[in-house]
């Protein structure tokens, strides 16, 4: 059964130095507050896993939390580069970052295989491209019926998955809705999981018979962090802060502006600062 915890307790419980962590959310519901808490707790040597590293991993990489990144698209969506990611890969700042790079199809299949407790996934991919020559984890398997050779990817089985969701009920069941991404798979693929939520309700009430729900017994811990996805969004709660995504380009471009932003907005703050994002934009959502 999922345990209700504070965000700080939750990160302490699921993230430890040297472990692998998948913080997922496909544009929607990115667990930014949890990323900040991970930075505050000074976690080190993490293997960060995420299809689209986005600002959340730019921050974790720039503050030195990451040893390795497993990913498929590392940019600031609609804006440009992730400067801290680039600085780590191109210049080794703040230290060298090992990368394991896949395509979206591979990552999505790898999460799916992890959730299904399979050691690998086979898919039709990587035909004629260079990535397999630089990533030894891209291999192949031969169909025992047709003889066709398919690409493979190892299942993603992170030590910890962290996601942000809309609601939890009092029993600790978690409701996702809208663009659900790979979050359910990430939680099911992981050894332990933390879910931050916008709201805790007595009961989900009337709902679609096939609603996307993670049952309490499939989740480790739940923390109530309203606004916790900002500058990403929570469908029906608040909108994506596109202006912050644009502003980030300037903040993250230089090391000193980045570090001072981190100090002012992460190290010197707590998870409660996220609540204002939920409140200020709720009506506009």
């Amino acid at each position: 059964m999922a345990e209700f915890v504070s965000l700080a307790q939750g990160i302490e419980a699921v993230v430890s130095d040297g472990c692998s962590v998948a913080m997922e959310g496909f544009t929607h519901l990115i667990p930014h507050a949890a990323g900040h808490e991970t930075i505050r707790q000074g976690k080190r040597r993490l293997t960060l896993i995420r299809m689209t590293p986005d600002l959340i991993y730019d921050q974790l990489i720039g503050t030195g939390c990451a040893e390795k990144l497993i990913f498929s698209w590392g940019g600031n969506p609609g804006v440009g580069s992730l400067h801290r990611f680039r600085d780590a890969v191109e210049n080794g700042w703040p230290h060298k970052l090992e990368i394991e790079e896949h395509s979206h199809a591979a990552m999505a299949n790898a999460y799916e295989a992890g959730a299904a407790n399979l050691p690998f996934a086979a898919f039709r991919g990587y035909k004629g491209v260079d990535l397999p020559s630089v990533n030894p984890q891209i291999r192949s398997v031969t169909c025992p019926y047709s003889g066709e050779v398919l690409a493979t990817v190892p299942a993603i089985r992170p030590d910890a998955a962290i996601i942000h969701a809309l609601k939890a009920d009092r029993e600790g069941n978690v409701l996702l809705e809208g663009i659900v991404g790979v979050q359910k798979e990430a939680v099911l693929a992981a050894k332990r999981s933390l879910v931050t939520v916008e709201e805790i309700v007595d009961d989900f009430g009337p709902r679609n018979a096939n609603a996307v729900i993670l049952p309490s017994w499939a989740v480790t811990a739940i923390a109530h962090v309203p606004g916790g996805a900002y500058p990403s969004y929570a469908h029906g709660y608040y909108k994506r802060a596109n202006d912050f995504y644009i502003a980030w380009d300037k903040i993250a471009r230089e090391r000193d502006t980045f570090l001072s932003w981190i100090k002012d907005n992460v190290l010197d703050k707590g998870p409660d600062v996220f609540a204002r994002h939920a409140l200020s934009t709720r009506e506009a959502a």
Binding site: F26, T27, H28, M51, T52, F71, S72, W73, G74, G75, P77, G78, S81, L82, F85, R86, V89, E90, E101, S103, H104, A105, A108, N109, Y111, E112, F123, R124, G125, Y126, K127, G128, V129, D130, L131, V134, E148, G178, I179, V180, G181, V182, K184, E185, V212, Y233, H235, K239, R240, N242, D243, Y245, I246, A285
Partner: protein, 256 residues
Amino acid sequence: MTATPTEMMTIAAARLLSDTDVCFVGIGAPSAACNLARLTHAPKITLIYESGTLSTRPTVLPLSIGDGELCDTALTTVAVPEMFRYWLQGGRITIGFLGGAQIDRFANLNTTVVGPYDAPKVRLPGGGGAPEIASNCGQIFITMAMGTRAFVEKLPFITSFGHGTGKGDRAALGLTTKGPTKIMTDLCVLEPDPQTAELTVVSLHPGVTREQVQAGCAWPLRFAADVTETPAATEQELSVLRDLHARTRQAHGVAA
């Protein structure tokens, strides 16, 4: 009204789309082109974004691949593994849109690195959905602005496969899809030559010269025997496109 080069690129792409197409849409010019088509001559076109939104009909352009607007106006939204497995790999997409930092003469694309992979001069975002969009969609339309750093002689890294080193390479890999069939730029439209698969200029946008196009390309460009002029943007195309951008700016408070 006269179209800007970027508008012309978008409009040229939109014209290729029809009501029966199922498009895998990326952000930027592809999204604008697909929605322009939907708001003009192809109202029933099916648009899919890789975030899982099926048959979506946004009233403003999304800024990200996963904007709430896409979900709100979609027929339904599926999980990302399902999107890549049942819909893209399932072979249910007729047209995939791609762009990239760099393209070569056989429409292979690089969005991964400039310089050596292990010590890159510029680390680009990477492939994302592109490698499998390139192989699993019925055909690929590419939209890219020209320039000699973008249209290069040799790619440092092949992120997604176009026509390899020429005609027949796709078939040799077991690919049954067509690959890139149209490249819409800000200056012209290119197509792979039917015999060699080398990109060939088939039409020049109004007022653009062959010299201008060649100046935007690092390899010696081939021109088709009968290069035409891309029909100028119509009043309707331009006004619908500009309205769409205006609505988008108003909704997002930023440029789209």
